[in-house]
């Protein structure tokens, strides 16, 4: 995965896909999968929680993140957008 020159939409899609890859994703897994630093990831996760796209449960002092149905729909829509962008010879 190319980490340079990623658009905000591209980063968002990577985060959602990283969470979707597992039933419950911990923050280090999202950081690794989405290739994004911790300090940059946290505000994005907070915003996604506020808007109801992801939620988390606390277990053993750890946060386990998961997609909500709205988050899943957002991810599908972003994938469609990604295909459109790629079909135009651009990259997200």
């Amino acid at each position: 995965m190319s980490s340079t020159h990623r658009s905000r939409i591209g980063i968002l899609l990577n985060i959602l896909e990283a969470i979707n890859k597992r039933d419950y994703a911990i923050i280090t897994e999202i950081i690794r999968e989405a290739n994004i630093p911790h300090e940059r990831l946290l505000p994005i996760l907070e915003r996604l929680i506020e808007r109801g796209y992801i939620r988390y449960i606390k277990r053993d002092n750890r946060r386990y993140y998961m997609l909500t149905p709205d988050g899943y729909r957002l991810m599908q829509e972003l994938r469609r957008l990604k295909h459109l962008i790629e079909d135009l010879g651009l990259s997200l």
Partner: protein
């Protein structure tokens, strides 16, 4: 002759409707991309902008063309009740006349004629290069878009070369526009 003229009106109106849908399809993607911070999107947007400008001019010219046939009295015989439609058609006619005046003013008439003859060939070749490159790089939407424009340019040129006042060549040009619109709408749809 009447049947052929009627066919030109139907194809002309079909081309205008196709042009408007095509314009809507392209501009939708244009504004969608504008809202994203996607790298290198300006070139694609420039292409879409110029293509949209071309389509707008084409709508004016086609409206003018259809109106000329309408003025010959065919459509008013067939559809006398659609006053609102005719009003809009004549409004477009005035706008198209203005666009053509702006286009021709200050230039000798021979220049637009040469441009009209040469431009489809040049643009056809350029679109063909884009089509080959997009096939090589597997860029699906650009491939469909450029192939559609290549086909249209070639048909358009053959229609112009063979023009000589024969009505079937006008039909070739209109069919070329309709074909291009169908391919663009089907492939650029989002």
């Amino acid at each position: 002759m009447l049947t052929e003229r009627l066919m030109c009106i139907v194809l002309g109106v079909g081309s205008i409707i196709g042009d408007i849908i095509c314009l809507w399809t392209i501009l939708r993607i244009f504004f969608l991309i504008s809202g994203l911070d996607v790298p290198k999107r300006t070139k694609i947007q420039m292409g879409m902008f110029f293509f949209s400008c071309g389509i707008i001019l084409e709508v004016f010219i086609l409206t003018s063309y259809v109106t000329i046939i309408v003025e010959e009295g065919y459509a008013s015989i067939f559809f006398p009740k659609y006053r609102d439609f005719w009003f809009l058609t004549f409004l477009f006619y005035v706008l198209s006349a203005l666009a053509l005046i702006v286009h021709i003013s200050g230039i000798r008439m021979i220049i637009p004629i040469i441009i009209l003859e040469v431009l489809p060939v040049v643009s056809g070749i350029l679109f063909l290069i884009v089509a080959i490159e997009s096939i090589r790089n597997k860029i699906r939407k650009i491939r469909a878009w450029s192939l559609a424009c290549t086909i249209q340019s070639l048909l358009f040129e053959s229609g112009l070369v063979l023009w000589s006042g024969i009505i079937w060549n006008e039909i070739i040009v209109l069919l070329a526009i309709i074909l291009r619109n169908l391919i663009v709408i089907a492939n650029m749809h989002y």
